[in-house]
């Protein structure tokens, strides 16, 4: 059984940078010389797919919608409804970003099923980049809505003792988001390849009693059906759930930094 678990394949490398950092940095940052990898290609592929989809979906919008427009409107309405429910009506301007994040995530995960591209969300760099955007949005909105001092003061609450804890949790927030998404997608693909390999072995055992010449003609039949069902869970269901969770967490964190305006609070009371 021959199985290797790798990160994305490197396509273009900046040799000087690579030589300077290879071996000197911890493994996690040893990639500095790698300019273009499989993930980069996947990211651009997703970008192109989404741009085309966006153009197709928004083509000749009319008051009396066609079939495609009905679906598009339903989805956009669902998005705005979800954002309004989770973040409040005053935060509806975040909906396009949440929608973009969801589409990038789910297409980034599903593009791995094409066997041409590697899932872009199966690379920690991508999910970490997205998670850091969320953190940046949270900080920016905190400072904008409460002021820089109040934001800093927030770290010492409820008591000064808690400051280290608060800082750790602030760092853990994007890290946990990034690792959750990355881990689910990458783990799913690893599990799928493990099962493929295991099924290949099982197939061989199944035909092992035959003469060697006959057995080599028999297809690895066990590999044919079972992985499809696993793929439904690990690729499609997991991709959807992870995209949803990532967006939901982003919405919750950002909404925490964007409380409803004063008048609205009063009117609700």
């Amino acid at each position: 059984m021959d199985l290797s678990v790798n990160g994305p394949k490197v396509y273009v490398r900046i040799e000087k940078l690579y030589q300077r950092f290879a071996g000197t940095m911890v493994d996690m940052f040893g990639n500095l010389g790698n300019l273009i990898t499989q993930t980069t290609v996947s990211l651009f592929a997703v970008t192109i797919i989404l741009i085309i989809l966006g153009l197709v979906a928004s083509r000749n919008l009319r008051k009396r919608p066609g079939k495609l427009q009905v679906v598009t409107e339903k989805l956009v309405n669902m998005l705005y409804g979800l954002v309004a429910d989770t973040m409040g009506k005053h935060n509806l301007h975040f909906a396009p970003y949440i929608g973009t994040l969801f589409l990038c995530s789910i297409f980034g995960s599903l593009i791995g099923t094409t066997a041409i591209f590697r899932s872009s969300t199966g690379d920690l760099s991508v999910t970490l980049a997205w998670a850091l955007v969320t953190t940046g949005m949270v900080w920016y909105n905190n400072i904008k809505n409460f002021g820089f001092k109040a934001w800093l003061k927030g770290f010492t609450e409820p008591i000064v003792f808690m400051t280290p804890m608060n800082i750790v949790s602030e760092i853990a927030q994007p890290l946990s988001m990034a690792f959750r998404h990355f881990g689910n997608v990458a783990g799913g693909s690893v599990l799928t390849s493990l099962i493929y390999a295991a099924l290949a072995v099982a197939s061989k055992l199944l035909f092992g009693w035959l003469p060697a010449a006959v057995a080599s003609l028999c297809p690895p039949i066990l590999q044919a059906g079972i992985p499809a069902f696993l793929s439904l869970y690990f690729d499609f269901f997991s991709a959807f759930v992870q995209a949803f969770v990532f967006c939901l967490l982003t919405m919750v964190y950002v909404a925490g930094a964007c409380p409803p305006p004063e008048e609205e609070v009063k009117s609700e009371k």
């Binding site: 790798n6 040893g30 990898t37 970008t47 989404l50 309405n77 396009p96 973009t100 970490l128």
Partner: protein, 171 residues
Amino acid sequence: MKVVFDAFESFVGVNVWTMLFAWCNLLIIYLFLKKILFKPVKNMIDSRQQEVDDMYQNAETAEADAKAMKAEYEEKLAKANEESEEILRTAQRRAILKEEEILKEAAVEATRIRDRAEGEIAMEKKRMLGEIKDEVSGMAIDIAAAVIGREVSPTEHEQLIDSFIDELGEN
């Protein structure tokens, strides 16, 4: 820069370049989809919603107007009915009065005609009686002259003739 195909990145690792590309792509997709998809579709949904709301509003207004008009017309109709009945009643009353008047007039006229006719009849009778009396008296004179054998003068014997006729009349 060198193109390589045999190397892999570590399974769990962070590549700053990939992060940069991820940010760029996210930004591009965000700006593009926001401009081309989310905003226009949302605007379309909102404007249609607005239109539907307006239509419902208009329909409600129109319905209220129609109801008000209906009530108005019904009121007018009821009034018109009442008026026509009133007119009919008045006309009937007037007709009855007129009828009575005509009847009364006719009765008066009839009485008048009868009275005149009776008067005329009485006068005629009187006249006839006078004529008959004259004739009879002539005849009587003639008969008397024949009986007496001489001329009887009406003027001389008027008294005699009259008494005779009176006696005849009594008989």
